[in-house]
């Protein structure tokens, strides 16, 4: 623990989609301590992937960063040139993706994927690169690398393909690993294996982890701190154990009760974007709305070793 390795400060991102604009992130701030792990939880459309891609500066062309800073070890990534950013990607911050199969080049073997990273990014010779490729695959939990190296992505199982992506992501020894729903395309067994692999890798390498998921289950037990997102906003930030024991925001309460209770007595969360009239984004689904919630969007209030975006905790 100690210094902040990554912090996102008041980031707002919108997508230009004719005829209207979609605000994917509104004033989002997150912080990641060196060597620690952060879970980002939220439903689909909450802005999780936009947040990840913003940090990598790989947002699609129609995305506009309106305001905010993304500091990696104190340097604002948004101020770097494309060339400087290229040396950050993979080397300092890496990312793994939701669908391992579509994230690998269908026309290249596993070995070609790895060699290209070692040769082009780390300047290794062919022999050294080949050796490193075997080692990193072993580190990603593939015990017999020689069986996998000559395979094409479509010949790999989902779990194996995700391990290959993890190997590619850690090949350049990054300080931060961003995992964007790395297990949502996998079955339950593969999910728990991949999750424990990520934990082991972070511990061994001192790597900091941002774990994104729509499911509380996959991040709890893995991360130190959790950020809950809803409609592009952070609605709660808390240490993982506190969040599970005592959730504050009504949306977090729903997530936790869903997590605890398999037979979740369905509480309906209204689909789609909230009617954006300046009130709280959760207003329409909130069990105990206050008068003020209709008029103003709540700021983040400090509460319970974290923060919560709800007027019920205003002081």
């Amino acid at each position: 623990m100690g210094s902040r390795i990554l912090s996102v400060e008041s980031l707002s991102v919108k997508y230009r989609a004719n005829p209207r604009e979609i605000h994917a992130l509104r004033d989002v701030s997150i912080g990641l301590e060196r060597g620690s792990s952060l879970g980002v939880v939220g439903g689909s459309g909450s802005g999780k992937t936009t947040l990840c891609l913003s940090v990598m500066r790989l947002l699609p062309k129609n995305a506009v960063v309106e305001s905010g800073r993304i500091l990696l070890d104190g340097v604002d990534l948004l101020s770097l040139s494309e060339e400087e950013m290229r040396s950050v990607r993979g080397k300092r911050v890496s990312m793994i993706f939701q669908n391992p199969h579509t994230s690998l080049n269908p026309t290249a073997t596993v070995e070609q994927h790895l060699l290209e990273v070692y040769e082009l990014k780390l300047g290794m010779g062919a022999g050294e690169a080949r050796q490193s490729a075997r080692e990193v695959l072993r580190e990603a939990g593939i015990d017999h690398p020689q069986d996998v190296l000559s395979k094409y992505p479509h010949q790999l199982s989902g779990g194996l393909a995700q391990r290959v992506l993890i190997a590619l992501a850690i090949a350049q020894s990054p300080e931060v690993l961003i995992a964007d729903e790395p297990t949502s395309a996998l079955d339950a067994v593969a999910t728990s294996r991949i999750t424990s692999l990520l934990k082991k890798l972070c511990d061994r390498r001192g790597m900091s982890l941002v774990m994104v998921s729509h499911d509380l289950r996959t991040v709890l037990g893995l991360v130190d701190e959790v950020v809950v997102m809803l409609f592009g906003q952070v609605v709660e930030r808390a240490p993982a154990d506190r969040l599970l024991k005592r959730p504050l925001h009504p949306y977090t309460k729903l997530l936790v009760s869903a997590y605890r209770d398999v037979f979740w007595r369905g509480v309906v969360i209204r689909n789609g974007l909230p009617s954006n009239r300046g009130g709280c984004v959760f207003l329409e689904s909130c069990p105990h709305p206050l008068d003020v919630c209709r008029e103003a969007s709540p700021p983040l209030f400090e509460a319970g070793c974290g923060a919560v975006r709800c007027f019920a905790y205003a002081r």
Binding site: M56, R86, P106, K121, L165, L168, Q172
Partner: protein, 316 residues
């Protein structure tokens, strides 16, 4: 990669295709009004003279027998003789085929060399005025008939600008460089349609590849943009373009007949046209057969190439 069984199956189907082509080539040319005797002696020759010549040329026998005789000689590798010059068809092919092949390969090379960079550029610069301008130009290629374009090219580049010779074919054995120069305009005219079609194909598949997850993932590893473009985008985007290119070989073979005529190139096309007009049966049959065989083989080659490019496809 490709099993022996698959190869055997494909070659067998090519043989079957060629057999059907022999039927078409033989009967279609005989359905045409007139025959070699009329073409030789003229409309007002006496019936006795015509009958004598028909007997001499062997076209008085029943059709089925003529067909079977022709097939028999084909199996022996004999394509027959020209009714008029008496030269073996195989000899005519030997002098004419290389030129048509050269023209077709030249046109294909031009089409590929122009459409891949052009289509990629339009996809990458999508939405800019440059992309709009370039894609409009490529559309022109699709919509202009190639023989007309050939005439326009002659007028502009040969007559007005005097950059290329209008006609006067130079043999590649004589002077390879001047041969390529003399074939440039015909090859360009022949390729114009293919350039348009291929550019659009490359454009749409590059655009699709650009939005794939693996491209974002490659960038997330900080790979140089050039590597992402060539290994990730183009390598995947060119798979459908290759198939398209092979289909266009057939178009080139057909188009070359007109282009050779416009540019007075002594290839298979000019010979075929001349022979068809004079009902030189065996030359027409032989040439049509060779065109069909070339087309079938180029399709086969494209399938092999497709397997080689796309590891997901394994023919069994």
């Amino acid at each position: 990669m490709v099993s022996a069984r698959y190869l055997a199956k494909r070659l067998g189907s090519i043989a079957l295709t060629v057999f059907f082509i022999t039927l078409i080539a033989f009967f279609v040319v005989r359905v045409l009004p007139g025959d070699p005797a009329v073409a030789l002696l003229g409309e007002d020759a006496s019936p006795q003279e015509l009958a004598a010549w028909r007997k001499k040329l062997g076209v008085d026998k029943p059709l089925m027998q003529q067909y079977v005789d022709w097939l028999r000689s084909l199996v022996r590798g004999d394509l027959g003789k020209s009714v008029f010059t008496g030269k073996p068809v195989i000899e005519l092919l030997a002098t004419r085929l290389p030129l048509t092949a050269l023209l077709t390969i030249y046109a294909m090379a031009l089409a590929i060399a122009i459409s891949i960079p052009l289509g990629t550029l339009i996809a990458i610069r999508r939405g800019t005025w440059l992309a709009v301008a370039l894609s409009s130009i490529s559309l022109i290629g699709v919509s202009i008939p190639n023989f007309w374009l050939g005439i326009v090219l002659i007028m502009v580049f040969s007559v007005l600008l005097r950059l290329f010779p209008a006609y006067g074919f130079v043999s590649p054995l004589e002077n390879p460089l001047r041969c390529l120069a003399s074939l440039f305009l015909p090859a360009l005219a022949l390729a114009s349609y293919a350039i348009g079609v291929l550019t659009r194909q490359v454009y749409s598949s590059v655009l699709e590849a650009l939005s794939q997850d693996f491209v974002v993932a490659a960038r997330s590893r900080g790979l140089p943009e050039r590597v992402v473009l060539v290994r990730y985008v183009l390598r995947n985007a060119l798979i459908p373009a290759v198939t398209m290119a092979a289909i266009l070989v057939g178009y080139f073979l057909g188009g070359s007949i007109l282009i050779e005529t416009v540019f007075a190139i002594p290839g298979m096309g000019t010979m075929l046209l001349k022979s068809a007009l004079s009902r030189d049966y065996y030359v027409v049959q032989g040439f049509v057969l060779v065109y069909a065989l070339l087309f079938a083989l180029s399709n086969f080659a494209s399938d092999l190439l497709y397997t080689w490019l796309n590891p997901k496809v394994r023919y069994g």
